[in-house]
Point group: C2
Chain length 150, copies 2
DNA sequence: TCTATTTAAGAGTTTATTGTCTTAAATATA
DNA sequence: TATATTTAAGACAATAAACTCTTAAATAGA
């Protein structure tokens, strides 16, 4: 799979949050219910993102999580790298250490091009854009189309 | 990672075999030594490929493995699908079931395009080509450049 | 035929990923 | 201040991926 499950969950949550008001803290429990993601697992992933200042959380009643300014302006690539790390965009397609034109493997030329196209696609896409389009076109954010963008 | 380790090992072995004579059976032990891949693990991966008629093996002294005609004409995509399955090229980037334009997620349009570019890159590249170029340019097939194409 | 060699097959182990559960810390509100 | 609510943190469990080991089957060559 291109992205880990953690990453995919993190992206879905990010898009969810991007579709919400900037100020309000959103309950993780409610989000995990709506997106059908394990609550505790999602919490851990979001903690990674708060550690990277892409989100911020607030404890207690009325508490929850929201995107920071940085997070709202972030691209999918930023989120992916925060969760899965940059390896996908730096590593050799054949898993050899030190991918580079100095010591290319047979796939190198093709791969750096394809890799750049993956990266470019993630870089071009901002969370707010995605959330806006998702809301507008009622794209789904969970298995069945039952997700409600409000 | 884009491809599983099994897949990457399988690809490296496939390129290795493509650089060898069509008729001779190549010792898996020798190949696993040269490519620095666990012998038993590699054997299992190659068994998958023989099951798909991309390779054929022969037991006993002077035994080994070689590409079939089908295997020699195969593209990287064929090898990848034989080992990792077609999921990478059919599944939703957000892991939602049933990726398709009928029930798109917010990433769908971008992803099918990028996915096609990955597939295209693997499809364009045949094993024999890769082996020929690798041999010619002494591209590396293992960690250090010490691999010898003969 | 006997032995050594090599792949096949399957059980078992280790490690990483994914997911669950419990307890602690913060905080709003009664 | 006491309680309920919510995230934080870490231990724990289940599953999957990666890797190892053992035994069986095929076969070349002595
Ligand atoms: S060295 Fe293999 S892709 Fe760059
Ligand atoms: S439905 Fe998500 S990528 Fe197609």
């Amino acid at each position: 799979m291109l992205l880990s499950k953690s990453c995919v969950y993190g992206l879905r949550a990010s898009i969810y949050l991007a579709s919400k008001s900037d100020e309000e803290f959103n309950s993780i429990k409610e989000m995990s219910d709506k997106l059908e993601i394990s609550f505790h697992f999602l919490t851990k992933i979001l903690q990674q993102l708060t550690a990277e200042s892409l989100m911020e959380s607030y404890k207690g009643p009325k508490g929850g999580i929201r995107l920071t300014k940085k997070g709202r302006e972030a691209t999918l690539l930023d989120m992916v790298i925060a969760i899965d790390g940059p390896e996908l965009f730096t590593q050799c397609a054949l898993g050899l250490p030190g991918c580079g034109s100095a010591t290319p493997c047979p796939l190198h030329e093709s791969w750096i091009e394809t890799r750049a196209s993956i990266q470019g696609m993630l870089e071009r896409t901002t969370l707010s854009e995605l959330a806006r389009e998702g809301k507008q076109n009622k794209f789904r954010l969970m298995a069945d189309g039952s997700f409600n963008w409000d």
